[in-house]
């Protein structure tokens, strides 16, 4: 059989578009991700969603649905703006955590590892994976981890670079506001910089030198996740924010003086 250009062109079109039509009809043709991770094929966890199949395009909402992890835990672990918990895509982490020191990266692999540890699912570590300190704190609090696992987690914990506090979209405005105040007078700088506001987190209190034990004395309870806003904590516990703020501010002022 002898083929000419026209024949070959027709055959190419038939093969390509025929193949696409055929697989579309059978439902196999997918150009986008279904956002449902593959499941373990065998073993104790057969049938459960496999964190290793989490893709960069998955949102925290997708992951929360597939793995039954509270959105709040996911969002807080990676320092995401609460308003974006549902729509935040894993791949966005890499650019957000870009200023980590060389060789350290927080990205989709970190989310996979976090989910595996959180749910106690098997996970094959093929590369060095780092987790934000907040994620490690949440795992310590909520996952069933051995002492050895906790120790190894502490080794891979990375703190959020200062500039990356902007993960919370409300923070840039606060920082900008503080910067404006900082440039006005030195005296004013010290008072306004360490002033508790609605969005001040427990981590900030710790950063200002307040001891965890002192905070817990005021709360009369264990300190929650450090990334939690004091105002949110007050709302959750049914405590009046203004009263709590006043007590905490006294602690801050004591440290300053």
């Amino acid at each position: 059989m002898n083929l000419r250009s026209t024949h070959l062109a027709i055959i190419i079109f038939v093969f390509i578009f025929g193949g696409i039509a055929l697989t579309s009809a059978t439902g196999y043709w997918q150009t986008t991700n279904t956002k449902i991770p593959a499941t373990y094929k065998d073993g104790e966890f057969a049938g459960q969603a496999d964190p290793a199949d989490i893709r960069g395009s998955y949102t925290f909402g997708d992951i929360s649905n597939s793995f039954d992890i509270p959105l709040e835990d996911l969002g807080q672990a990676f320092g995401v703006d609460p308003e974006r918990y549902v729509t935040f895509q894993c791949k966005e982490l890499e650019s957000i955590y870009a200023s980590l020191e060389e060789g350290k990266e927080v990205g989709t692999a970190s989310v996979r590892y976090f989910v595996a540890l959180y749910k106690g699912l098997p996970f094959n570590l093929t590369e060095s994976i780092y987790l934000p300190e907040l994620a490690v704190d949440i795992l310590k609090e909520k996952a069933s981890l051995s002492e050895a696992e906790i120790l190894s987690l502490e080794e891979i914990a990375v703190s959020l670079p200062a500039s990356d506090n902007s993960l919370d979209s409300s923070l840039p405005e606060q920082l900008e506001h503080e910067n404006v105040e900082n440039t006005s007078t030195d005296t004013h700088e010290t008072t306004s910089a360490n002033t508790i506001k609605g969005i001040t987190t427990f981590q900030e209190l710790l950063n200002w030198g307040v001891l965890k034990e002192d905070i817990e004395k005021i709360l009369n309870d264990k300190m929650p996740n450090p990334q939690k806003n004091i105002k949110d904590y007050a709302a959750e516990k049914g405590i009046e924010f203004s009263g709590l703020k006043e007590s905490m501010q006294e602690l801050v002022d004591t440290v300053k003086s």
């Binding site: 002898n2 043709w29 290793a52």
Partner: protein
């Protein structure tokens, strides 16, 4: 109506042939180039809530059959694909393999938009360098470099298997060309694209010849494909036009069938295109007519 007669070196001319080359392949290339461009544009538009009707908004990876090849190991091991690869890549990989078993790497010469892009640059190169175009590299060096793409293939597959990431994206000039606006393109990919553009002005399809891992895979099918470029010595005047027309510098006239792993089945050498003799160089099955 009398046919024009071409005489060369007093070799008796048996039959003479056509006047103009068919442009079928060019039209097919244009179709796929703009289809891929539209799909990538649509993907970008979909991220801001817009879309082009009737055009897929899949990613470039989703419509690249090499993604399927890079995912083969993971798919066999755990039934999933490497990052960014979807079922569509797998389907296209199978289609490309079926086409390659029958016709060789027609995907490279008729479909691949990056091959088309290099061919367009080659037209400029031919104008700049005339007959020297595509003949700058000494044959001995060139013949060794032709196996470089198998090294690239091995590295890409090995690194993809071990990391389960689409490592190739960071060095893929095709991705850089069609996603140049995206922050997903690594600097290394832009550099390789730049080098390929420059080389395309002196060499025909330099990426395909020396570095394309997918071309390397499809090239293997040339050894056993069903339709081959076959030369009928009895009809050949040994004018070497087939050799000169081959973008991959394959000496078509030196054998009875082209088994070279670099052949891309573009049909440039055939009697339909370059060969002045009808029935001298054809794309046929064995003994086929």
């Amino acid at each position: 109506m009398s046919q024009p007669v071409i005489q060369q070196n007093s070799v008796p001319i048996l039959k003479t042939v056509k006047i103009r080359k068919p442009k079928t392949r060019l039209y097919v290339q244009l179709f796929f180039f703009f289809l891929v461009a539209l799909i990538t544009l649509n993907k970008a538009l979909s991220e801001i809530g817009l879309s082009i009707p009737y055009i897929s908004n899949g990613s470039l990876h989703a419509i690249c059959p090499f993604g399927g090849v890079a995912s083969l190991y993971k798919f066999a091991a755990v039934g999933t694909f490497v990052q960014k690869i979807h079922e569509s890549s797998f389907v296209l990989m199978v289609i490309a393999f079926l086409l390659a078993i029958l016709f060789g790497p027609v995907i490279c010469s008729w479909v691949c938009p990056f091959g088309t892009f290099q061919e367009w640059l080659a037209k400029i190169g031919r104008k700049l360098f005339g007959k020297r175009f595509n003949h700058f590299i000494p044959t001995k060096v060139d013949s060794v470099l032709r196996y470089l793409r198998y090294v690239v293939l091995f590295l890409v597959l090995y690194l993809t298997f071990t990391t389960t990431k689409l490592i190739f994206q960071d060095v893929d000039p095709y991705f850089a060309l069609f996603q140049f606006w995206s922050d997903e393109v690594a600097l290394s990919a832009f550099i390789i694209l730049g080098v390929t553009i420059l080389l395309s002005l002196v060499i025909d399809r330099p990426w395909c010849k020396y570095a394309c891992p997918y071309g390397a895979v499809l090239g293997i099918f040339n050894l056993f494909r069903i339709f081959k470029i076959r030369r009928a010595p009895s009809n050949c005047t040994d004018c070497k036009l087939c050799d000169r027309s081959c973008p991959m510098n394959i000496p078509v006239s030196s054998g009875n069938a082209v088994l070279n792993h670099q052949c891309i089945s573009c049909l440039s050498c055939t009697s339909e295109n370059s060969c002045p003799m009808s029935d001298a160089v054809e794309f046929t099955t064995k003994g086929g007519k």
